[in-house]
């Protein structure tokens, strides 16, 4: 790989990894306070998977940087970059206000995530192909879980209304999730990824129509240019919570 190829690949991987990391973190914050026990178990397991995916992607980044992927090095990458160096979307940075939002976000995120893994299944980067096999297998459970719960909840008028309210709150954030990595074009040219983020737009509009019977449009929502280079207002408190224990004793060995 040339230096510029390595650079664009790293940037592409970080965009995926940071979404996985923050989504996993957000899921863990529901453990113990979900409406019923089965959801506590589901969200802890799903959150654990997303964090596991983030670790696998961070390991790839470190390998491309020529750094040994020790736990310390992974933590450094995951927790210690400056705000500008993260590539996460406002969609995963957003701290949900209620369970309906958490559930709808879980469904939207995993709908998109499944496609993202598909898009790297034929990647020119062999270790990324391997990672996608494992992650893709785990993703099946996430999709099944979200759909099974929504199947049941959408039959109740009260629950349906709460879910639609949640969808309305989350819709303006979706374009940030679909926003490409700054280096996406280079990653496409290099065959690191086989499809563009733009392709996910119509797919998600259709999936939401099928799932909730609601027509949404993301194209008309204002989006900052290069959305992946800026952090939303929710990022600072979130990363603060994530660093809280690490900061308590920076020298501790975990």
């Amino acid at each position: 790989m040339t230096d510029s190829t390595t650079h664009s690949t790293i940037d592409f991987l970080l965009t995926f990894a940071d979404d996985e990391h923050l989504m996993g973190q957000q899921h863990t914050e529901w453990i113990g306070i979900t409406p019923f026990l089965e959801e506590d178990l589901a969200f802890s397991s799903i959150g654990q998977d997303e964090l596991g995916h983030a670790v696998m992607l961070y390991e790839l980044v470190l390998e491309l940087q020529g750094i040994e992927a020790t736990d310390t090095a992974i933590d450094e990458l995951a927790y210690r970059r400056t705000d500008e160096e993260y590539r996460s979307s406002a969609f995963v940075e957003y701290s949900t206000e209620d369970w309906a939002q958490a559930l709808v976000r879980h469904w939207i995120y995993d709908t998109v995530e499944e496609q993202r893994w598909n898009m790297v299944a034929e990647s020119s980067l062999q270790p990324l192909r391997e990672v996608s096999v494992r992650a893709g297998r785990e993703e099946v459970y996430h999709r099944r879980h979200a759909n099974a719960l929504l199947d049941s909840l959408l039959t109740s008028d009260a629950a349906r209304q709460k879910l639609l309210d949640a969808l309305e709150v989350l819709t303006p954030l979706v374009p940030s999730l679909l926003a490409p990595a700054p280096s996406e074009q280079a990653a496409l040219n290099d065959g690191v990824v086989g499809g563009s983020s733009a392709a996910l737009d119509s797919l998600l509009v259709e999936a939401i129509q099928d799932r909730f019977g609601v027509e949404v449009s993301f194209a008309t929502i204002d989006q900052p240019p290069q959305a992946r280079l800026t952090r939303s207002e929710h990022f600072a408190p979130l990363i603060g919570r994530m660093r809280e224990v690490l900061d308590y004793d920076p020298e501790a060995s975990w």
């Binding site: 802890s44 654990q48 998977d49 997303e50």
Partner: protein, 155 residues
């Protein structure tokens, strides 16, 4: 030559002596975690393991247990463990002994492919209650015959 073959089998036995932290008494080799190992000259041993799932919190613990066990083998100067990205673990990798031990000692059934797991107590078919359970690699089912709630090991 003979010495080397003996050493290889001793190293394998040392790896097999490591139990999965979730199932004390059940070897990681029976669980299908061992993919490869090399005994290099000078007694350097490299072990390649695969995790049951990507976010497993026990990986560091298992790796350390393997290193400790292998370094006990006479002639081994150092051991290291790599977690491999490929292949992906699945329940097909469990040995027959592992399946029997899980059923008999832990009342844990095994999900292989799409087939409904069998109740470890009475051998009847089960139905899924929850696709997630007490740990990430287990779901929860109920036996259609004896109504026992059964944990199911799955990928």
């Amino acid at each position: 030559m003979m010495v080397q073959i003996d050493m290889r089998s001793e190293v394998r036995a040392a790896i097999a002596s490591v139990d999965d932290p979730e199932y004390p008494g059940l070897s990681i080799v029976d669980l299908g975690l061992l993919e490869s190992f090399e005994v290099e000259p000078e007694g350097v041993v490299q072990v390649g393991l695969i995790p049951t799932f990507s976010g497993c919190p026990a990986l560091a613990m298992i790796a350390q247990d393997v290193v400790d066990a292998v370094e006990e083998v006479e002639g081994v100067s150092s051991a290291s463990v790599s977690w491999l990205r490929s292949p992906t673990w699945s329940a097909e990798r469990l040995t027959q002994h592992a399946q029997e031990t899980l059923a008999d000692e832990f009342t844990v059934a095994v999900q292989i492919g799409q087939k409904a797991p069998v109740c470890p107590l009475c051998g009847s078919a089960t139905t899924e209650l929850s696709m997630f359970g007490p740990s990430r690699c287990r779901s929860v089912s109920r036996c259609k015959n004896c109504s026992e709630t059964v944990e199911v090991l799955r990928a």
